[in-house]
Chain length 698, copies 2
């Protein structure tokens, strides 16, 4: 490893150590804040215990899975002599994901009640700060462990002949944990939400956060396991996958193409390793900028939360591009890298704003308006909004790809697209901070309601919560946009890896011609898979919600005095049902994602697998955007009506009831199936990249 | 043209002439049947006039479009000296589509009231026969004009140097008319259906077929313009596109590959032309078999309609394969062709049965059951069913492709896939007969209700109608399955054509590598387009339904005595609104389909266009299957509850109301957007094939 590359890598490692230290500081700062009344405390501890119980049981399931994959990798890579290495790096990637999820969620379950307490003391800035600090623990852990893990492995194995296997195995570890966390968490949160909503409002006529509703605790636990732990694992994986995709392309691209990236002077070896190091380095720069921006955002807490948080999502990416613009010439790297990075950063921000437009502005009023003639027309309208937003968002992703393609020197177009993904994710630490802020303030609202605190408290938590909904939409835009670019890059890395192995083994290169039958058959098979995951997750939420509704009915029938508020509901029974349902139902969709590429790769060969990935990314990217945004539009149409947006159609009117139906459909759409499909395509691509050497000579 | 090829083509032409003669015979037989009471007659003439008015106004819009495309083709192909030829063949393809649509719909609007009259006379077999004969006019016209047009052009231009342009222009004519008819008809029928349904049931509390409902006539007109004329144009186009795709591959494939299809003895020239002729010939054989089967089905009219019609959909395809198995060796053609044909025919039948399972059996009960806890859970369940069925159906399509790929000699794999599409569509005449039977019996039921005929009459029409729903589902399976295979074949034909032109102009062949940036960018752009058409058609239905609801409300408020049944509603006002809305709203989605390939082809070149087609087929095939089947499941869940399938949840209960919401969402899903998306991908492929020579040297 040359000196320059060592230094660049050290910058990233140092940034991640700083990130972890800051995160630990926030963790203890939040933990030390006052917790409020005994009731608040009790409710918060129920939520915390429920969430931790879920994680612990999930870890048991994941342990079985991890052992199985470890064994598979151990034997599959034994032929190359890297069995232990591949298995070990897989476990390392998986462990770091679980570790950040654990710490981040623990922090969130401390922060929720303390945010509520700050609101109870009447200080909106303090409440905002508490929620933000709580979120920052997750945000910083996610970004720092991803960079530390990848950077550390790179530092150690840079000159190892199987560096690719090291990186790919780490990515598979990250991806598969993300898959299960996202899907399991998604099923949990929406089953609890839909179940307690319907049972509360429709069956018993009480609001979902009412202290009498036995589903209240499970609903709040769901926010933590789904929107904090699940989302965190997802974003961790996104960052890992984007960096690994870029590194993988740089590792296998033809050297004459790589040299085109540099302004001169480098030897071939230096150029290649500098190209491999760039994504790690730029992610490290992104982390430093994000840390600075988190502190700036904290000082702005007296301002309107909506402005502060929106700026926090968009400004850091732009600063990162400016920094890159200054540094790249110093490293002798073409500014094409900066332009690709910037295309991604700007594209990500644009997708975020488009997502916000479709899920918060005039389209939402259209959906609310259509609900006047019933749930049917409201749903039709929301589906149309979701589809429209998909068109615009995917178009922007294509434009980012087009830009990267245009600015990059010949042969490095896909490296540019991968850099675009890195650009979208460079601000991961702060994006995830803001993302995790959302469920913390949502929980704070839930705790204030269940503890019977007054409307003044609720007013503060409601404002913070509603800002969280908007930022969640923007965050989702970044997530799905970067996922799409990352998959395109991984896809290309896969093909490069296949041909690298073929050429090394003296075979001729495989040319994947789009009009060959195996590729087209793969395309159709790939098109099926997102629907398979969509269907199984929708069914899982439906089933689990059904069981929860029945249990809630049972409690109201059998617990004397519950309806009158004189007896306590049995919240842990619901938590238990949701936990079991989520863990058992996540196995099928999770297995599809892992087994499909392995099965198709080994049975039909690399060409069919490439076709499958192409079909899966086309269908998966569009389907997940569609589901996420339609869901967001329905959710906010309901809130718009509740806030009195439609004159003559107040909360409780037929129009409102119609909008609630849309929200019910949207819940699993946007928070279970949509993210599940997005992560599916990433997992399949990462798994394909890992097994590429094993099927290359098919 | 050699003697053998002349003879084979003549067989097809003779078959289509026979088909037309039989169709004319059915037309006059139906027209001569008794029409029933004056009221029935009056209602039927309102429906007929409404339908004809729509067609006439649609023709005016299409005339403008046709002139524009003619002008474009005239100038675009002027450089090749084929401007007039291309324009003329385009008009010919378009004219034949409109002509069969016109005759077929006219027959359907005679048959509906006569079917009702036969039911009034108490004869179920006669009612079945009348509806079937009425449908056969459309079925035979569609298949016969497609074969006559293509076969005739081939007969005349077989040795013309621009045969490809002739065939492709004809296909573009067929496709674009199908696109507008399907989308315009789809918007009309569902706007009228949803509008009169909601206004009737929800706003005024009367059933949709109630004589007082001003939307009743428009609803019945919609069945004719959407499910008869729109569907007819769609199926006509499918057959044309499948045949043209197969011919195009045979015309441009490398001769050494073509020779692999033959058992020996043929010269290169003979082999190529025999391969080009095969799809026309086999479609002709399919028509003969279909005609025979229509007569057999007629003699079985005393049996249960469900069995007769299901057999009518599946048996003919199988007979055609047996005939091919006997004839191919006589022509010196490899049985690989028969096997591909058979894979398609069996695959089509399987998709049909899968579709029926998901839209008529246990999954429907699941949806009905989920509606017990409200519209939200019912809709979630229907979406899941739609997704599941998509996975299974697309998997079957992939299996058909896999089989064709496996049995075909090297280089002809895509010819085999195209033959699979021909196999699925070989029974077009009888499939379309059964498809058109559905709306005729639906109309018969509507007329009986609006004329106040007794429950005995309604019982007969209801049974015929419900069988129609099942057969419609099976028919849709054939349609979308064959569309997917056809698009894959067209896609390959496009690339072959591009390279044919490049090689002819002394350029090197374009290798479309799946991992190149332009293709991946095209993939994302292609993934957007089905959602663009989905969104615009959903919005169109929503808007138009809204206007209809308002007009119906106005009539109930302003026409004294309407509510009490003492005054007549103004049905033509609704017909007028639906017509205007459908015609104005079909322009945007229609233009997307035509302009997207042209724009991307000329701006970004053939590689990006190929990527776009790949993205569009992956997303379009899955999205249209999903929408069609989810819609079917909701529709039948509602009917299941109405038929008393859920004990304790009768018609009118909350559960039933919840199921009605699903049906409302499903209406535009299954009959407007789903078919619109399916035809979009075909139109884009056909247009790409046509413009291939113009952009080949990009």
């Amino acid at each position: 490893m040359s000196e320059l590359i060592g230094q660049l890598t050290m910058v990233s490692l140092a940034a991640s150590v700083v990130g972890l230290i800051v995160a630990v500081f926030f963790y203890f700062r939040v933990k030390g804040l006052p917790e409020g009344t005994d009731t608040m405390n009790m409710i918060a501890s129920f939520i915390r215990e429920g969430a931790m119980t879920f994680l612990m049981r999930e870890y048991k399931v994941l342990a079985v899975y991890a052992v199985a994959v470890f064994a598979f990798l151990f034997f599959a890579f034994q032929g190359e002599g890297t069995g232990l290495l591949a298995g070990g790096c897989f476990l390392f990637g998986a462990f770091l994901s679980l570790f950040s999820g654990f710490i981040g969620m623990k922090a969130a379950t401390f922060a929720n009640v303390r945010t509520c307490q700050a609101a109870r003391e009447g200080s909106k800035p303090n409440a905002l700060l508490t929620a933000l600090d709580g979120g920052a623990v997750m945000g910083l852990f996610v970004a720092a462990t991803a960079i530390l893990g990848l950077g550390g492995l790179y530092y150690v194995f840079a000159t190892h002949p199987h560096l690719a296997t090291v990186l790919h195995s780490f990515a598979v570890g990250a991806s598969s944990i993300a898959l299960f966390s996202r899907i399991g968490g998604g099923i949990y949160t929406k089953a609890a939400d839909v179940g307690s909503d319907i049972a509360g409002k429709v069956v018993e006529g009480i609001p979902e956060d009412d202290p009498r509703n036995p589903g209240g605790i499970a609903d709040n636990v769901g926010d933590n396991v789904g929107d904090v732990a699940g989302m965190g694992a997802d974003i961790y994986e996104s960052l890992v996958a984007a960096i690994v995709a870029t590194m993988a392309i740089a590792l296998t691209a033809k050297i004459e193409f790589i040299l085109g990236l540099f302004t001169g002077g480098q030897t071939a070896e230096e150029a290649r390793f500098l190209a491999v190091t760039l994504p790690v380095f730029l992610a490290g720069v992104g982390l430093i900028v994000s840390i600075v921006c988190i502190f700036i955002a904290r000082t702005l807490r007296q301002n309107a939360p909506a402005m502060v948080l929106r700026a926090a999502l968009i400004v850091p990416s732009i600063i990162i591009c400016v920094v890159a613009y200054i540094i790249m010439p110093m490293l002798g790297v073409s500014q094409a890298v900066t332009y690709s990075l910037a295309a991604g950063a700007i594209g990500g921000a644009l997708i975020g704003l488009v997502t916000e437009f479709y899920t918060a502005w005039s389209p939402v009023e259209r959906v609310a308006d259509a609900s006047k003639t019933g749930a049917g027309t409201g749903i039709i309208s929301g589906l149309a909004v979701g589809m429209e937003s998909t068109v615009v968002s995917l178009f922007i992703v294509a434009a980012v790809g087009y830009t990267a393609n245009a600015v990059m020197p010949e042969g490095m177009e896909l490296f540019g697209i991968a850099m675009g993904a890195v650009g979208m994710l460079a601000g991961t630490a702060i994006v995830m901070t803001v993302d995790a802020y959302g469920p913390i303030s949502d929980n704070a609202g839930g705790i204030s309601e269940m503890s019977g605190l007054g409307p003044d408290v609720r007013a503060i938590t409601d404002e913070l919560d509603s800002v969280g909904n908007t930022t969640a939409a923007i965050g989702k835009g970044f997530a799905i946009g970067s996922a799409t670019l990352t998959v395109l890059a991984l896809f290309s890395a896969f093909i490069l890896e296949v041909n690298h192995v073929r050429v090394t083994s003296g075979m001729e290169e495989l040319v994947l011609k789009l009009d060959e039958a195996p590729i087209l058959i793969g395309l159709l098979l790939g098109a099926c898979l997102p629907y398979a995951v969509g269907a199984s997750t929708m069914i899982a939420v439906g089933k689990a919600a059904q069981s929860i509704i029945e249990e809630i009915k049972r409690q109201f029938d059998e617990i004397p005095g519950l309806r009158e508020g004189k007896a306590d509901p049995d919240g842990t029974a619901i938590v238990d049902i949701a936990t079991k349902a989520a863990l058992s139902q996540m196995v099928l969709p999770g297995s599809v994602a892992i087994l499909a590429p392995v099965g198709i790769g080994f049975l039909l060969g690399p060409a069919a697998l490439a076709g499958m990935l192409a079909g899966a990314v086309a269908v998966g990217a569009s389907l997940s955007l569609f589901m996420a945004n339609a869901g967001g539009a329905w959710d906010n149409a309901k809130k718009f009506i509740e806030a009195g947006g439609l004159e003559g159609h107040p909360k409780g009117s037929e129009t409102h009831k119609a909008a609630v139906v849309g929200d019910t459909v949207g819940d699993p759409f946007k928070d279970t199936s949509g993210p599940g499909v997005a992560i599916l395509i990433k997992v399949m691509s990462v798994v394909s990249l890992l097994i590429a050497p094993l099927i290359a000579t098919f």
